[in-house]
């Protein structure tokens, strides 16, 4: 992958070595995780200044923990490794992640990492949409300090995240939702190995009477310069019984919160129409998973 100015390929074994490489190359050092989007960034001319790649595969960050109050996923956990999380296959609240993991082809699942796909800040990806619907946040470390960033604040713009130079994502945390909760993710794509035209992830929690206590509706895939939460749709759902009419109303509302784009995959009008259709399907899917 031609990085014309690349001088150094670092494979650090500890965080000090990361810091050393960042100190030497500053903004022109790029953290390398799974590597599956390097080419995509390069052909867009976004890596023309990169002088050093920092391959972090020897730093660990590959833990996978079903904790009491959350699920914690190391940044270097590959999609294939994440599929091995036992709870993923039984917990309704995590189902959106399970749905999203079924989308990328085998080779991408074997290479792509959770931290890498979040740092890429690419709204056309599948897993970030699901992770935002599950209220995910990342732990970030750099220069000896650590901080937490909610995913809504991590994604700044297209291919732009809020990390400072030298900071890297070490872990993703998904908090367990209260009560009866379920989630779902659905993607509209042109082929089985393409980026999303539109994707939608929803997470809902209901009380004993079936009234919606929490709802998160998130859309990706060309509906904005980052993954978008639809506050309008969420407001429609909260405090209501999730009837057919309420779900129809919420699905129709997502159009108020997105700015669909036109590209070679779809027109803006098609994306707008499909955003509603797929929101409705995702909500119905999540509803069917409530136990």
């Amino acid at each position: 992958m031609a990085l014309s100015r690349l001088k150094k390929f670092c494979i650090p074994e500890n965080s000090h070595q990361v810091d050393d490489c960042v100190a030497e190359y500053g903004d022109n050092a790029l953290i390398l995780a799974g590597g599956t989007f390097i080419r995509g960034l390069e052909v867009r001319g976004l890596l023309s200044e990169v002088e050093a790649l920092i391959d972090v595969h020897k730093l660990g960050m590959d833990g996978l923990v079903s904790g009491v109050g959350n699920v914690r996923i190391g940044a270097m956990v590959t999609f294939a490794a994440l599929e091995q999380l036992a709870e993923l296959h039984s917990a309704a609240w995590l189902a959106a992640v399970r749905d999203a993991l079924a989308c990328p082809p085998l080779q991408i699942r074997n290479m792509a990492t959770v931290g890498g796909c979040l740092a890429a800040s690419c709204p056309f990806y599948d897993l970030p949409t699901a992770f935002l619907a599950l209220d995910g946040s990342v732990t970030v470390s750099g220069a000896g300090a650590q901080r937490e960033i909610g995913l809504a604040d991590l994604f700044v713009s297209l291919f732009e995240n809020s990390l400072e130079p030298g900071e890297l994502i070490t872990e993703l945390t998904l908090p367990r939702p209260p009560g009866r909760s379920a989630s779902a993710f659905i993607k509209l794509e042109g082929t089985a190995n393409d980026l999303a035209i539109v994707n939608v992830a929803v997470s809902i929690s209901v009380d004993a009477a079936g009234v919606c206590e929490e709802a998160r509706v998130v859309l990706g895939g060309g509906v904005g310069d980052r993954v978008v939460r639809s506050a309008t749709a969420e407001t429609v759902l909260k405090g209501q019984q999730l009837t057919h009419e309420v779900i129809e109303h919420a699905a129709a509302a997502v159009g108020q919160d997105i700015e669909p784009m036109a590209d070679h995959r779809a027109t803006a009008a098609y994306r707008l129409a499909m955003a509603g259709v797929f929101t409705k399907r995702a909500l119905n899917q999540a509803l069917s998973r409530l136990n």
């Binding site: 992958m1 031609a2 990085l3 690349l6 001088k7 150094k8 390929f9 494979i11 390398l32 590597g35 599956t36 390097i38 080419r39 995509g40 052909v43 790649l53 391959d55 595969h57 294939a80 079924a102 990328p104 082809p105 085998l106 080779q107 991408i108 074997n110 290479m111 089985a192 190995n193």
Partner: protein, 153 residues
């Protein structure tokens, strides 16, 4: 500036001087002469560069050679033994699952992991499993049949 790296490919160890941005695909083809692994889209969309690292299928066009050190790499040339084809290769021949042949090596490497993970996949699982490999000739029917045959045998 070139760096000296050590790669284990098909059981043989190679010391090679590569540019830091060299991909595993470039090293396999241009340095080691292993031309079974093909260059296609060069951006992880077509699958004809698929090789194994450990027992996992990966796009070698997306893997930096420096990142692939200290791991066991297997290419299509590493399948089979004693002059005999591997069972999946043999099934592709018997079912005639080849037209131009450009996708075949990557398709077989993907099928190997598919059958390793799921020894008896149904048609849906096969089609989903090879979704990361494009074939512009066959329409996939013969390829699916070959993988099914390999699973049966």
């Amino acid at each position: 500036m070139k760096q000296l790296i050590s790669l284990e490919v098909n059981g043989d160890r190679h010391e090679i001087a590569v540019e830091p941005d060299a991909t595993l695909l470039e090293v396999l083809r241009d340095h080691l002469g292993l031309l079974g692994t093909k260059q296609g889209c060069d951006s992880g969309g077509c699958g004809c560069c698929t090789v194994h690292i450990g027992d996992r299928a990966v796009y070698s066009c997306m893997k930096y050679a420096l990142s692939a050190q200290h791991q066991k790499i297997t290419t299509i040339e590493g399948l089979g033994a004693d002059g005999k084809l591997d069972a999946v290769q043999d099934a592709f021949v018997r079912e005639g699952a080849v037209q131009c042949g450009y996708c075949t090596c990557g398709m077989i490497m993907t099928a190997k992991q598919l059958l390793h993970d799921d020894p008896h996949p149904d048609e849906d699982a096969i089609r989903h499993g090879i979704a990361g490999n494009l074939c512009r000739c066959t329409g996939y029917h013969k390829i699916v049949e070959a993988i099914r045959t390999a699973a049966r045998d």
